[in-house]
């Protein structure tokens, strides 16, 4: 599921779907779900997208990075299509699936994994499937126990019995009764999914969580699979910023970058990063194609960022292809990709993270 937009992403989502957000220097959010599918040996993957899909389309233009370009299976991109007067946009997650029900019907695989593309994690879905079969579940939801301090307001929370069966499911609770949240990853038998979706469509119901999980939680055996490893949703500015900064933590970097399996992404074909004189870099991630002349601390620089002389960049995310002129100070900011920052400027996020969008004129260097 890669259709969504989020108002919580503020200005950042004007440019692209959340799933296409750059993450950890050289990835896009959807790479984590796609790579998980790749190493789970899922060969047939459909990406459902709707909102501002240009970035996402560009990123998925070739399926070869995840090895989906095979004769069996493949990577399928589904956007709403308008055939007659009754055609509609995707009105919800269940509707998006229902509008592509022929794809589900024409497949022969017994199970379907539904995953959202705005989460950062690595997961072998076969482990979830094994659990699903062992529990004789109708639907299995991947869940995660969050710390007490974690604000679950924008997530779905679940209450499970001792066996792991989900007894209660509350979407976006105002007062949380549980700190176990749904990760938006589901395993379900294909036949059952088709039945459920057809029923939803008949009754004009469009939301998978509300109209399937919550509505059927008594009738169907819905189980929760507890995820122990790292998982983070990026769909708000603060979560996006925090998730990226998490990669400065050696244990998280090690988990994603050095331990099997690898996360794959579109190959950028960029030259090595280049460091000129008077450069100071501390505790930061930088990606290929960067040229740095200034100071960078506690920050993540994505592809092709140019940092001018005497610049100071602190606690910031600088997205792809940003030009930063000389003597500029940037602190606590997310600088949108493609920006051109004039020399001698100063941007500081005073109360929280500031999003910088500057379309200054760029002179070729």
């Amino acid at each position: 599921m890669a259709g969504g937009n989020s108002r919580r992403m503020k200005e950042l989502s004007k440019r692209r779907a959340v799933c296409a957000m750059p993450v950890a220097g050289s990835y896009r959010s959807i790479d984590f779900a796609l790579s998980s599918m790749e190493f789970s040996r899922i060969q047939k993957v459909a990406v459902l997208m709707q909102y501002n899909s240009r970035s996402l389309n560009e990123h998925l233009a070739s399926s070869k990075w995840w090895d989906f370009g095979r004769k069996q299976g493949g990577l399928f991109l589904f956007t709403p299509s308008f055939a007659d007067a009754h055609s509609q946009w995707y009105r919800g997650t269940a509707d998006a699936l229902a509008q592509n029900i022929s794809f589900l019907k024409n497949s022969h695989e017994p199970y379907v994994v539904i995953a959202s593309g705005d989460c950062v994690y690595k997961l072998d879905y076969n482990e979830v499937l094994e659990y699903h079969v062992q529990k004789q579940a109708d639907i299995t939801v991947v869940v995660k126990d969050m710390p007490e301090t974690f604000n679950v307001e924008r997530y779905g929370t679940v209450q499970m019995d001792e066996d792991g069966r989900i007894r209660d499911f509350v979407e976006k609770p105002v007062i949380a009764s549980s700190n176990t949240i749904s990760c938006g990853i589901y395993v379900v038998r294909r036949r059952l999914l088709i039945d459920l979706l057809e029923k939803c469509a008949e009754e004009n119901r469009y939301d998978f969580v509300q109209d399937v999980l919550i509505r059927y939680r008594g009738l169907k055996r819905i189980y929760g699979y507890r995820l122990a490893s790292y998982w983070s949703n990026i769909a708000s500015v603060d979560d996006y910023y925090r998730t990226n900064m998490d990669f400065l933590d050696p244990s998280i970097r090690d988990y994603f970058f050095k331990q099997y399996p690898e996360v794959h992404s579109k190959v950028a074909d960029l030259p090595p990063a280049k460091y000129n004189v008077n450069v100071n870099i501390r505790n930061s991630l930088l990606s290929s194609g960067c040229i740095v002349n200034g100071t960078v601390e506690n920050s993540v620089l994505f592809h092709q960022v140019y940092v001018g002389n005497n610049c100071v960049i602190r606690n910031s995310l600088i997205l792809n292809d940003v030009y930063i002129g000389d003597n500029t100070i940037i602190e606590n900011c997310i600088v949108e990709s493609g920006d051109t920052i004039q020399e001698n400027s100063c941007y500081k996020g005073e109360n929280g993270i500031r999003i910088v969008i500057e379309k200054g004129e760029r002179y070729t260097i």
Partner: protein, 425 residues
């Protein structure tokens, strides 16, 4: 199937490149790393696809494993084509006269059938050991405009260096009137770059008629044959950056030129990208006490120490307190804490122990190959291990998993060669 390719390229990648010493112990020269994340063959291959040449035969012979793995089916260069694309051509057994590739032109001759299958009008002959960006299509236009049978790319070199090259003497119309190989008294400063465009019929005839010539070579046999037969030969002058990386010293210098503020050979231009098989997509990390100045660094590298004036590959680890200067560290090198490296070339997957000091001492010539391991460079072969705490001089070559016992009093003096037999792999 109807197949027609106007121009195909034949890339000679079979040579050892013995003057690169230990770097070509396990691989042919075109497979040697360059500029951090690249390998030398990436430059001609990228030039081909950027010039619209989408059919490339890569001729291999010496140690082809690394080259084969790198080229694969050509995906990184977009050379995975339905018709054409890249083909690796190695010597093969025949009913009669089975032989290795005995010379540059002999290698091409043995692959006449490959070329013929694409029905070409022109064949571009390239070598896999130069660093440059060149539009072969512009050269082809020049070839056609002049009605040439053979066009040789040349570049002006300083007159005093002309004696090291094959020199072309041309008239005002760029037609080659004469040529001389490494002349003592050069009559021109136009050096052959080893890049030729042949009209197909001319090439085929020249190869077939000279097939029995031992060690059939383009410079020595084919070009003279074409001249003697009256074929119009033209010189195409190229004025961009072109670097032969045939010796360790020139290899080191060419790498160091990439770290200039505005390098003469610019990898950062948007057009004419250089493609390579990427081994990693991971961003690079700088620790809290790190430093990088005048350096280029590849993906996945972790810098916890300090790096000056160096070219660093992918997935390299530089430990806390380590200082690396004037060095080339290829993919997968690991430098221990507090180690100090000055003018060191490490081949892939080298491990340098904590506190080791490399490149310190007098400039004493190397005891076994003073012609290769010179100019103060320390060279470590692929997979070499240097134990912690040892001190190593200049003009040194080390290969294999060495141990503390191999270093009397913890020191390997300048000019020494240390090879651990059996486990150099």
């Amino acid at each position: 199937m109807i197949v027609k390719k106007e121009m195909i390229a034949m890339l000679l990648a079979g040579g050892q490149g013995s003057r690169l010493g230990i770097l070509t112990e396990n691989m042919a020269k075109p497979a040697v790393s360059f500029g951090g994340k690249y390998r030398i063959i990436d430059f001609p291959l990228s030039n081909c696809i950027n010039s619209g040449v989408d059919t490339v035969g890569v001729l291999t012979q010496y140690m082809p494993l690394r080259l084969n793995a790198h080229v694969g089916i050509g995906i990184p260069w977009d050379l995975d084509k339905n018709v054409g694309g890249v083909s690796v051509l190695s010597p093969y057994e025949k009913i009669e006269n089975t032989e290795w590739y005995t010379g540059t032109a002999n290698a091409i001759y043995q692959n006449l059938a490959y070329m013929e299958s694409y029905n070409p009008d022109y064949v571009l002959i390239l070598s896999g050991d130069h660093i440059y960006k060149m539009d072969y299509e512009a050269m082809l236009d020049f070839h056609k405009e002049n009605g040439a049978d053979v066009t040789i790319a040349v570049m002006p070199v300083p007159m005093e260096e002309a004696g090291r090259f094959g020199i072309m003497i041309t008239d005002e119309e760029h037609r080659i009137t004469d040529f001389e190989e490494k002349p003592a008294h050069p009559r021109s400063n136009l050096a052959s770059m080893g890049i030729y465009i042949f009209s197909w019929e001319t090439l085929k005839k020249a190869l077939v008629e000279n097939a029995d010539q031992p060690n059939l070579d383009f410079g020595k046999h084919i070009i003279p044959y074409c001249r003697d037969n009256g074929s119009p030969l033209y010189a195409y002058e190229f004025n961009g950056y072109w670097k032969d990386v045939g010796t360790l010293t020139s290899y080191w210098e060419a790498n160091m030129e990439l770290i200039d503020i505005v390098p003469e050979f610019n990898l950062y231009e948007e057009f004419w990208k250089i493609y390579t098989r990427s081994t990693s997509n991971v961003p690079q990390f700088f620790g809290p006490d790190s430093k990088a100045e005048r350096s280029i660094i590849g993906e996945g590298t972790e810098v916890l120490g300090k790096v000056y004036n160096s070219v660093i590959g992918c997935n390299v680890e530089i430990g806390e307190g380590a200082v690396v200067s004037g060095s080339i560290l290829m993919n997968g090198t690991k430098i221990g804490r507090g180690a100090r490296l000055d003018k060191v070339i490490t081949a892939e997957d080298v491990i340098v122990g904590d506190g080791a000091v490399l490149g310190q001492g007098e400039d004493i010539p190397n005891d076994t190959r003073p012609d290769i391991y010179r100019d103060g460079l320390v060279t470590l072969g692929e997979g070499t291990v240097v134990p912690p705490g040892v001190s190593i001089g200049r003009n040194v070559m080390i290969a294999g998993k060495t141990e503390a016992a191999d270093y009397p009093h913890g020191r390997l003096e300048s000019g020494r060669t240390l090879v651990k037999e059996g486990d150099a792999q």
